[in-house]
Symmetry: C2
């Protein structure tokens, strides 16, 4: 744990939307009570306007930085970004991150108990959207007495939330930093998500979502979904550099269906470790929320979506990201410019594909730190 | 059926490698007897040197052109290329296509009866390579009294066979046309194949390959594998043009896990129709053969692989093919040039991704027809 680490942190929980005051979802369904798991680091100032809201990607959680205990082997998922002197400087900012509505890391989602039945929701959980996730976060932000967010920052699905925040609550967001994201998932992205879901449905242990009733886990289906998604998070270049065609602990081909190549072994490991930390039904719900995200559809056009935003924007993409490409980032930038909004854009050189935003990158770190310092000056 | 159709055709069968004269596979295993399903159109000339061998891709078969009956609703898979006056002009050429060794369309493969047990081979079938497929085709070519192939032509895995033919039997091949192919599968390609195989393994009906014993088919696993592969055969552009984010017969999102988007419906259809025409174990074997293909490994370097080729080459790639890219095609071209070989290369504009070679394309058709006419002049 180095001097810039935020140190020991804990996850907290906020429950709201108690019946009969349930939250109205975009689907028309009412949901409550709702719990959000969240973490905060640093101090909120008196004006309540120095908060950074970090929004997470598909499989993320509230634990963005720090350690749960002195012996915790691994810090939070964006630890290098958060702490005293780091880009999300906890000497300056009050950093907040919550697990999304629909998640499986402490927030209300398909694994939660359905108060109507006393059993897990499973597929009775309503389909939620990025808009619903943001609406729930709005309640948390109110609960924390934040008067205005200094910035909302997120990569991938987190970037979708950052866009949604700036549009839905324009007077609450001083700056928005959508990173490696898109204003709407394209057909290829929907296709990959659907194949992942089909892999889960195909697992005999899935039992139409009721696997927990049988003490089962659709491990193989979820693993296949994750392996597939993982390919889309990397780039061809980075896979070539990292694995090439190297064989896994053998000199010649096995001429069987065991593991021949390192890349196969790596992917299997990714699949197997994912099933220990994520839930299959939740994967269905979160991927569906991503598929549904479409600002053009919701607001008639992307230009129209940004008409009333007040936030200054920093839009970042990565050269080798083929899931949410620079071309898609530029659509956001163009629509903001058409509206005369303040927008800074940078395509950051990186070979690591979509996952680039999760890895240390001096250019990204400096751009973000500087933007946060100067955006509201 | 238009005037340029080859008309009614039939599939024939050739059996060889009868014990004790089994074929030696690259793995070291001996296999026999071996049957290849094949079709021929046109007439072999007296010198036996006007034959075109067409080699097929992963899920292809011997039925490259024509109809099985007057009422057959669908012609062979490359029908527009084969017939009188078409690029593979049956007035000039004797066209041959065989289902690969290891296939499930009439050739010996995992679904064939193992003479040692009287039951299907299933996973007791030996792993075969692209080299083994070509070695078996060599027997067919001998059987047909072909003295020299005017050309070997194939796309994707068919292109790998074309390369292998020109290298392994240099005096038998006057021209080689590897199309939308690579000299070795990259890490990303292996990764996609492995996820497809894992989807099949994950199907409870797979039963470690012995599903036929139970009268079962691992339909969902094979369907997931095909859906995934299908995404890699298309391009982001073509999916955007064809489907975009259009909804499938609905005005608003369903907020459930039925089909929302046209692209989902299309993919499901692709998966479902594939399971009716292809075998799951065969999918494992053929994808493994593709993964193993690596001319650099087999010959020390790609330059060295081409040292003794005599064929003239036409190498074709497609602009939007992200599975076997133009960069990979250029590696082949460069290695041929280093050896001072005759090579013509063209990157053909097409939005249809890897599958472009299976679709009508005036540039491709003309390049191939002209090359075949002039290559041996």
């Amino acid at each position: 744990m180095d001097a810039n680490s935020i140190g020991i942190v804990e996850t907290k929980f906020f429950t709201f939307a108690q019946p009969p005051n349930e939250m109205h979802l975009e689907s028309g369904v009412k949901l409550g009570p709702i719990t959000l798991a969240y973490e905060t680091y640093g101090q909120l100032n008196e004006r309540g306007d120095n908060a950074l809201l970090i929004t997470h990607a598909l499989s993320g959680d509230a634990h963005v930085a720090g350690y749960y205990s002195p012996n915790d082997p691994k810090p939070g998922w964006w630890d290098f970004m958060v702490g005293p002197g780091r880009p999300f400087d906890t000497n300056k900012y009050f950093v907040v991150c919550s697990n999304v509505l629909g998640g499986c890391k402490g927030s209300t989602g398909p694994t939660s108990t359905n108060p109507a039945t006393g059993k897990p929701y499973n597929l009775n959980f309503p389909v939620v959207t990025i808009g619903d996730m943001v609406k729930a976060q709005r309640e948390l932000v109110r609960h924390l007495n934040i008067s205005k967010l200094h910035a909302v920052v997120g990569g991938s699905m987190g970037g979708m939330q950052a866009l949604e925040w700036a549009i839905k609550y324009p007077d609450m967001v001083a700056a928005a930093l959508p990173i490696a994201t898109t204003s709407r998932l394209n057909a290829q992205g929907i296709a990959f998500d659907e194949v992942g879901r089909q892999a889960i449905y195909a697992d005999a242990n899935w039992k139409n979502g009721d696997y927990s009733d049988y003490n089962l886990i659709p491990a193989q289906g979820l693993s296949v979904a994750r392996m597939l998604a993982h390919i889309t998070y990397l780039s061809e270049e980075s896979m070539h550099e990292k694995f090439g065609r190297r064989l896994q602990e053998k000199e010649r081909y096995g001429y069987d269906f065991s593991t021949d190549f390192e890349v196969e072994s790596y992917l299997r490991y990714q699949g197997e470790s994912f099933i220990k930390r994520f839930d299959a039904n939740t994967y269905l719900y979160i991927s569906k929320a991503i598929d549904y995200f479409d600002l053009s559809r919701d607001y008639g056009s992307l230009e129209n979506a940004f008409k009333n935003v007040q936030a200054k924007f920093l839009v970042l993409s990565f050269t080798s990201d083929w899931l949410f490409t620079t071309a898609q980032a530029k659509e956001i930038v163009r629509a903001l410019m058409v509206n005369g909004k303040h927008v800074t854009f940078c395509e950051i050189p990186s070979n690591y594909g979509h996952d680039s935003f999760l890895l240390r990158n001096a250019c990204m770190e400096k751009m973000i730190a500087d933007f946060l310092s100067y955006a509201n000056a």
